[in-house]
């Protein structure tokens, strides 16, 4: 019974978060980087809800090997994903054609750099 309740909670919260993210995007309540940040946070909350309610990350035996593998995966994942995005953006920035570079510099000058 305890497990049924956990599955129901996980399901209801996941549906609510999915619909919330969907309506934030289609309804245009936020815009630009604020909207991206809001839906990224909603996805992360849903990720942890499902890790606990469906994948039972907390029902681990001592020593907590499941958690240890999970954390090492998370660290590697963050390095790979954000490292790739950072390096490739930096590369694009430095390999910009001269015309685009001028436009970019004017744009950053307007921002006050």
């Amino acid at each position: 019974m305890k497990h049924v309740i956990r599955y129901v909670i996980g399901f209801v919260v996941s549906v609510a978060l999915t619909l919330a993210a969907y309506f934030f995007v289609t309804g245009a309540y936020f815009a630009g980087s604020v909207l991206i940040a809001v839906i990224a946070v909603l996805a992360l909350i849903q990720f942890f809800v499902q890790m606990f309610c469906f994948l039972h990350l907390d029902e681990d035996e001592q020593p907590r090997w499941k958690l240890a593998v999970f954390i090492s995966m998370g660290v590697t994942l963050i390095i790979v994903v954000f490292g790739s995005i950072w390096i490739m953006n930096n590369l694009n920035y430095h390999m910009m054609p001269p015309g685009e570079m001028d436009a970019k510099m004017m744009e950053e000058k307007d921002k006050g750099f």
């Binding site: 599955y7 399901f11 999915t18 994948l55 593998v69 999970f70 995966m73 994903v81 790739s84």
Partner: protein, 193 residues
């Protein structure tokens, strides 16, 4: 084997499968990184906002979410020894999974029919590889659940079948976790202005 030994062996299987799932997460992580880098590289072809149909993708997401929920209930029924309920609930999991895969394939065939296949641009290559890899996992899960349905019907809820069902449930929940990020990063961020 007594029940304690059975539990110990099951924990070993669970941990081994968990390690597999986490390495699979890294596979998807590198595909997400590729997608994030290439999403703007459209080469004059369609952009993300041009090709994604949001109500359709929302329906796909809710179907997969319901499927994973029903799968969890099926595992509870299996652990309680209710064979008929186990077959009904895992059968429903399978039907919802088939519906999800059919929707994904129809989206793919529509895109290819319009000339927007993976050959069109780097963005579309990354899109098809990321979403297609998830679809291939769903197909593998569907084959697995069909095998399990046959085995449970033939031999009942033996300790071996229970263990395999719990590993299948873990796999199916994991695929829904990956889909959260596909839905958010690929679809929602693709159409967000």
């Amino acid at each position: 084997m007594n029940t304690q030994e059975v539990a110990k062996v099951n924990n070993k299987y669970q941990l081994g499968f968990w390690v597999y799932l986490m390495t699979d997460c890294l596979l998807f992580g590198s595909l997400f990184a590729t997608y994030a880098v290439l999403r703007g590289a459209t080469y004059g072809g369609p952009t993300e906002a041009d090709i994604f149909e949001m109500p359709f993708v929302l329906a796909e997401t809710l179907i997969l979410l319901t499927s994973t929920f029903v799968c969890g209930l099926g595992l509870v029924a299996a652990k309680a020894g209710k064979q008929t309920w186990t077959i009904i609930l895992f059968g429903l999991t399978m039907l919802l999974g088939i519906a999800f895969l059919a929707m994904e394939l129809s989206e793919f065939s529509k895109l290819i029919g319009e000339g927007f296949s993976w050959q069109r641009s780097a963005f579309l290559s990354a899109f098809f590889v990321l979403v297609g890899t998830h679809g291939a996992h769903i197909l593998a899960g569907l084959i697995w659940v069909v095998v399990m349905l046959v085995r449970v019907t033939q031999r009942g809820l033996t300790p071996n079948n229970l263990r395999r069902l719990s590993l299948f449930a873990l796999f199916w929940h994991f695929l829904d976790v990956i889909w959260i990020f596909i839905f958010t990063v690929v679809y929602l961020m693709g159409v967000a202005k």
